[in-house]
Symmetry: C2
Subunit: 519 residues, 2 copies
């Protein structure tokens, strides 16, 4: 490896360590931190982000990149490194330069005080959101939200001066995407979902009342333990904790932690949330860009949408499939009962269970939505956050706008903000531009799923026989291991042969729900 | 406040944040971190220590100190600030300059690579020690221990070139102390303890067999919860977790966490360990050097020995006293039984319990030692670590030297290294020079205890009536609030009227044990 590259790797690894330290500060805040510690914690996070930002914009990085032939002028996809004078760079090294260049250009556009302010406000605003949601008190949270919107606008203006602010934020999570490209995809998706929903509404509805039978937290914990086990989530490199709003976070190359929550009268919530988060964790733990790029920025997921494709594939395409439960239902039923006590699944057959966990019905809470209405929840958030960032919508008017759009898209009116615009952590965490990743993730997942079937025609029999290792093996070799070598668009072509094509998802939904609802 | 001072406070607070972040990395490693994460964790700790060290030796600090009239030439106790040209500094500001000067002089003597190496090795070596102790495998740990001894020697040589290396390490924990000053105190202490031990041995022995009756972890947890409650340990600013080797750590101004461990057939181990750690936590949480010095280095304990005086006062002078249990024994007995199950204290009266928890008998494990033999455990470690650091003892010969000295001082021979030289975390954590703090802490505690009685003649009646708030109030106003304004020697004079006088401890032991053993 050329000496400039070796030095870049060294700097990059320090940045990686700082990122993981910041992740620990965040994880601890959500899991175990005493309540009154939040004020100083926000300062701690801000300091780490400041130190990291200062390191990330060091002119040394720019000089090293230039010495290797990478300049700001190179378009994102250009083969960096070809014009430098030393030994030619291989494909992996060029991919690495591309990632570094992208981040360096982005970071040098952001002033340090903005980075610190964002970090500080994120920590405070999340704490405020937790209280506001518990108290159903949007006005108490609104000043934080306003401040966050202002900060995100400032960030967008720095990243893309003169450009569309929301595009700059989308690009942070899904490189190359824009509001108009996503709006186009979502317009098609909305049509599909609405028409499917109408077909489903015309059929006899599914009974899922037994899913509301009580199941104590310790039994749900046993179920989560078992599920992460059969998914091969390595507890030597991770752990499961209980939080208000489940997430996955990477605190080290060998430290990817997941979280869940136990709702006593809806045990499948933790069941699917655990599968979902473990899907994220398997991706992170499977990244292996080679020894020389370990713990560098190549050692990272391609994009948040690809990340979501992994979690949602495990949660929905596997975890809500009949094949999966044919193998696993007896054990679930046993664990849900625990030590001889009654199980919420007593007297419930496999088929009834699979129908229940796939019941489609408009609902208020995104994280509890079925696969059909889920996309509508995302479209709602996409449209609202675009309006917030563009300034077309004021924060104070958000509850009303949220409720109106919920009625328009889902036919329901939230009875309060806790079940309305306060339900998600994202905006309090400054994650504007993230929501579309969830819907794009569904599209990627379905397309990857088709490619997996092409490569492994007996895949569904394997799932039915309890063989999840083949699935994980395919995901690892096709998607996980590569890390960030490809852009999302390149990866999907590489794995599936075509660019992103929403028809895979539409076909998957049609096939599945026509079977369940019999149309 | 003068502008130079304001800037020093700003820098100091950043260093404080970094220290708290490092503390979180350490706390997480001991409590919840997945096993395989240790390699990268050691890098994370090293990076934070490096960033902190680089900030702590910035020439700007030296310039600011000089502008305020503080120069390296000032002896430690001199009234810094008197020669500067701006507005005169008040006593608190001068005390602050003294602390800053001390640390700055110390830090500028340490090369950054040594700081990083120490941080990295501490993390790795602690992980190795945990395994080695569990496997009773000293040779597996020895290479880490050797490396640590070498690093500590290098550190000592940097701190006090040409001086006694062990003195430099002692000074880190108890400013102003030296090997010879401690050796003198310990010589007197050893005589007292040995003679007291002989008197006790001549009397009928105490029965404490019932303390070995089983008490499940959940009941011990309930006891710990109750005890920290009556001690007014604020769970909004702290928490209690379970670890292999209990400790207290400060992660923020409002975040001081304690830990304990539950040994099923010796429930008083967690009971006293929890009281001990909560005593440390109350000190940390009680420090209040005024708004302008919040989160600065004045916002810190005076020394480790003063810290131990607080933990040991709660554990022994209060927690093993008859007066305390007169008020609390009934509740303990109830909690130890839990939900109507049998309690290890069933049929055991108050007097028998108090005698049992004060039983004196030579034993192998320091943390389980009684108040009389405890000091002998410390003298053993003090002598051995002094020999290790001076090079008179090689690491490979430690087990033999440990066993010989245990026999000499306690009349016992450890059957294995797990119950011998591998029992304590300190050396693996690089804490050479710390052990004497425990014994000094006992001496300070007894002297503070006498002063408290002078100030509050009805103290013992208050304890008997369940009033612990008065005790905490006195400790806060006399010791905690001041933070690091005084040196240890100054504090003890300020609070008690004289310098450290070991006779308070000797008198306390004599009075207590003559009553218990009837001589």
């Amino acid at each position: 490896m050329r000496k400039e590259l070796t030095r870049l790797v060294e700097i990059d690894r320090e940045l990686g360590l700082l990122g993981h330290i910041a992740a620990l500060l965040g994880w601890d805040q959500e899991t175990y931190m005493p309540a009154k510690a939040v004020a100083e914690r926000s300062e701690q996070v801000a300091l780490i982000e400041t130190v990291a930002h200062e390191k990330s914009v060091s002119p040394e990085i720019g000089d090293l990149l230039a010495a290797l032939g990478s300049t700001t002028a190179s378009p994102t996809g250009a083969p960096d490194g070809e014009t430098s004078e030393g030994a030619p760079l291989d494909a992996r090294e060029r991919a690495y330069l591309r990632v570094l260049r992208r981040d360096y250009d982005m970071n040098t556009k952001l002033p340090t005080d903005l980075v610190a302010e964002l970090a500080r406000e994120t920590s405070l605003s999340q704490a405020s959101w937790i209280e506001a949601r518990a108290e159903n008190d949007f006005p108490a949270f609104a000043p934080h939200m306003e401040r966050m919107v202002e900060l995100k606008k400032r960030q967008a203006a720095c990243l893309a001066p003169g450009g569309m602010p929301y595009d700059a934020l989308l690009d942070l999570f899904e490189p190359g995407s824009t509001e108009s490209s996503i709006a186009e995809i979502f317009a098609g998706l909305r049509g599909e979902l609405v028409s499917l929903l109408a077909k489903i509404a015309a059929e006899p509805q599914v009974d899922d009342s037994f899913l509301r039978r009580p199941c104590p937290a310790d039994r749900q914990a046993a179920i989560s333990e078992w599920l992460t086990g059969i998914m091969s989530y390595d507890r030597g490199r991770g752990r499961l904790d209980v939080v208000a709003h489940p997430f996955t976070t990477t605190l080290g190359e060998d430290d990817v932690r997941i979280t869940t929550r136990y709702i006593e009268d809806f045990f499948v919530s933790s069941l699917f949330s655990t599968i979902h988060e473990a899907g994220h964790a398997l991706y992170e733990l499977g990244i292996a860009p080679g020894r020389e790029f370990a713990r560098t920025r190549l050692h990272a997921a391609v994009s948040m949408a690809v990340h979501e494709s992994q979690s949602r594939m495990w949660e929905n395409l596997i975890g809500r499939s009949e094949r999966f439960w044919k193998h696993n239902y007896a054990r679930l039923s046993e664990l849900a009962g625990g030590g001889g006590a009654s199980s919420p699944l007593d007297g419930v057959g496999l088929e009834a269970f699979v129908r229940a966990i796939n019941k489609v019905a408009p609902s208020l809470i995104r994280t509890e939505a079925d696969e059909v209405t889920y996309g509508l929840h995302i479209i709602l958030r996409f449209e609202l956050e675009s309006e917030l960032i563009s300034g077309r919508l004021a924060v104070k008017d958000l509850p009303e706008a949220w409720n109106a759009k919920t009625e328009e898209l889902l036919g329901l009116v939230p009875p309060d903000d806790a079940r309305g615009c306060l339900q998600d952590v994202h905006w309090s965490a400054g994650l504007f531009g993230y929501f579309p990743s969830y819907a794009l993730g569904n599209l990627y997942a379905a397309q990857f799923w088709s490619a997996m079937k092409r490569d492994m025609p007996d895949r569904d029999d394997r799932i039915e026989s309890g063989d999840l290792a083949s699935i994980l093996g395919w995901l690892r070799s096709k998607i996980h291991e590569e890390g960030s070598i490809y852009l999302p668009g390149e990866l999907v072509r590489q794995v599936t042969g075509t660019s992103l094509d929403p028809r895979h998802f539409a076909a998957y939904l049609d096939e599945k729900y026509s079977r369940i609802y019999g149309f």
